[in-house]
Amino acid sequence: MSDALLSVRNLSVDFETYGQVNHVLNGASLDVPERRHIALVGESGSGKTVTMKAIMGLLRHPPATITGGEIVFDGHDLLKATAAERDRLRGTAMSMVFQDPMTSLNPVFTIADQMGTILKYADRRLGRVRNRRERLARVHEVLAQVRMRDPERIARAYPIMLSGGMRQRVLIAMALLSEPRLLIADEPGTALDVTTQAQILKLLKDLVEERGLALLMITHNLGVVRETSSYVYVMHHGRIVEEAETSALFAAPKQAYTKNLIASVPRLTGGTDFLALGQSDPEAEAEAEATT
């Protein structure tokens, strides 16, 4: 997919902590085209968050160092770009939806204030000028896009007055303020209950379809991937071990790791085999014993 909006090639990142150097990313590559819902899957510690931060330019230099590879967005290699150029892209052409709605909003300011400030500075970077009323109108507009029923009331509220699901929508709205072309969603809805999460995921899926966004979804939840994404990258120890169209991946996983990953998801129907990665199967063993 060389016409992808975002193309990550052979990215390697090292982290230095307490004198030890960890190779967190080892030549990871992935593509995110427009109008596609791409998933990046892996266990905790596989490097998915680092990948995301690298793309967004949020890695802090100590302790992280990018040791190789390229990140190409819309034809420009971000790693070779100046800080000013990256700043201009961040929050405007490419935007991020944060994971934890409980802690990602500043508790002492209203939604309108926070979103308004973000919009103000995004506008500045794009050279656009809006006055306060126009900004507020845009805030309401975006809140409506994320299916909030009463955007004005939400905008006036403080985060503590909103439920988890509403806050997550606000986070998505924040990301949409400047009409980004690429959206990276970090474990969307993991902090919420299953039903609310489903709504959020549906919202994201609709946004891809309606607005032609390129969406990169970072998650550890295979069930979510199956339901929403069209292409999957499986990450393990900082490299992509398998990638395929979603249906193909689930139907015929090629790598052992992928197979284990899929098999370790609890199933709601069928037998009660319980298999965790790297562990034995006690029931099968017990069965085997009983029959001998």
Partner: protein
């Protein structure tokens, strides 16, 4: 709307505390010493004189009734008669309270105006020299006894920097009495006498510094700690991700939530500040409640002493109420949830 409820709750609470305070003070002054009349009149009083004073003060009535009278008097702002000066205690205190109030107000302003920015600087340049410098200043100001600092400053002013006065609230020959708010600085501006304002400020500087040094140090350290905690929060990182510039992140987004702990502690600190104000007043000959308080204590004028303690207590409660309101204003979580 929720703000109003919050306010009402805090006010009721304060009233409760004040009632409790009045009981405690009453107990101390009336019940503990045994016989205030005898104490006031001294050992050479005859039984008739004692009985006479007892009757005048209503000490021969049942305790509950005495307390009732006390409260009723309080409600009218009547703190009783001074056992010695025969004047209304209220009148005596009122004159001196304004001076103390002005000093304390100036001190708080000074502590906040210098303490908070120092704390912000320290957090911004963590572990570098500004941080260490602030830390040293804060520790030194916390461990230096207020009276010691006051003495040192007085020497400094008297023998080195001759342009700062060493005693008093206004120069003797200035001929001005603050009669509107009781605050020399404010009233002089209102009456169009900026020369007096300058004079008053010059007189305020040293006592306020001596009194406020320790608090300033604490504010700085608390602000620093709060800022560091807030800086690590996800929402600051999120703001960074969205391109909000650093100066705004620091001055607005990080500073606002950080304001709460220093402010709350200021309220608690205030009690010590009133106590230390007494000492500072004595050293700088400031015409505040301290001089009055010490005199009446030495003379065992119990009504007056009770009055002073009561006024201090009320002052404390009111200041804390104001601070709680400010905190509720700054942090919506507190006014909505009523958390503390």
């Amino acid at each position: 709307m929720e703000f109003l409820l919050f306010l009402i709750r805090r006010v009721l609470w304060s009233i409760l505390v004040l009632v409790g305070l009045s009981i405690v003070i009453f107990v101390i002054a009336r019940v503990v010493p045994g016989d205030p009349a005898r104490m006031a009149l001294g050992p050479r009083a005859t039984p008739e004189m004692v009985a006479d004073l007892q009757h005048k003060l209503g000490l021969d009535r049942p305790i509950i009734e005495q307390y009732g009278l006390f409260i009723a008097g309080l409600a009218h702002g009547d703190l009783g008669r001074s056992l010695l000066s025969e004047r209304q205690v209220t009148a005596d205190i009122r004159d001196s309270f304004a001076a103390t109030f002005e000093l304390v107000l100036a001190t708080i302003l000074l502590a906040e105006i210098f303490g908070v920015p120092l704390g912000v600087l320290a957090s911004r340049w963590k572990d570098r020299w500004p941080d260490n410098l602030v830390r040293v200043i804060a520790i030194l100001s916390a461990v230096t006894p207020t009276f010691f600092l006051a003495l040192l400053l007085q020497i400094l002013a008297g023998y080195v920097l001759h342009w700062l006065p060493t005693t008093g609230r206004l120069s003797h020959d200035i001929g001005f009495t603050p009669d509107i708010t009781g605050l020399a600085v404010v009233d002089s501006l209102l009456r169009g006498r900026p020369d007096v304002t300058l004079d008053a400020l010059r007189h305020l500087l040293l006592p306020a510094t001596a009194l406020g040094a320790a608090t300033m140090g604490q504010m700085a350290r608390l602000t620093r700690t709060s800022m560091l905690e807030v800086m690590n929060q996800d929402y600051i990182e999120a703001a960074r991700a969205f391109g909000v510039p650093e100066w705004l992140r620091v001055l607005k987004y990080t500073l606002r939530p950080s304001f709460v702990p220093p402010l709350t502690i200021l309220g608690l600190e205030f009690a010590s500040m009133i106590g230390n104000a007494f000492v500072v007043e004595l050293i700088f000959s400031w015409p505040g409640m301290a001089a009055y308080g010490i005199r009446t204590i030495l003379q065992k004028d119990l009504n007056a002493v009770m009055g002073v303690v009561m006024v201090s207590g009320v002052f404390f409660v009111v200041v804390n109420l104001i601070i709680d309101v400010l905190v509720g204003f700054v942090d919506p979580r507190i006014r909505i949830r009523g958390a503390r």
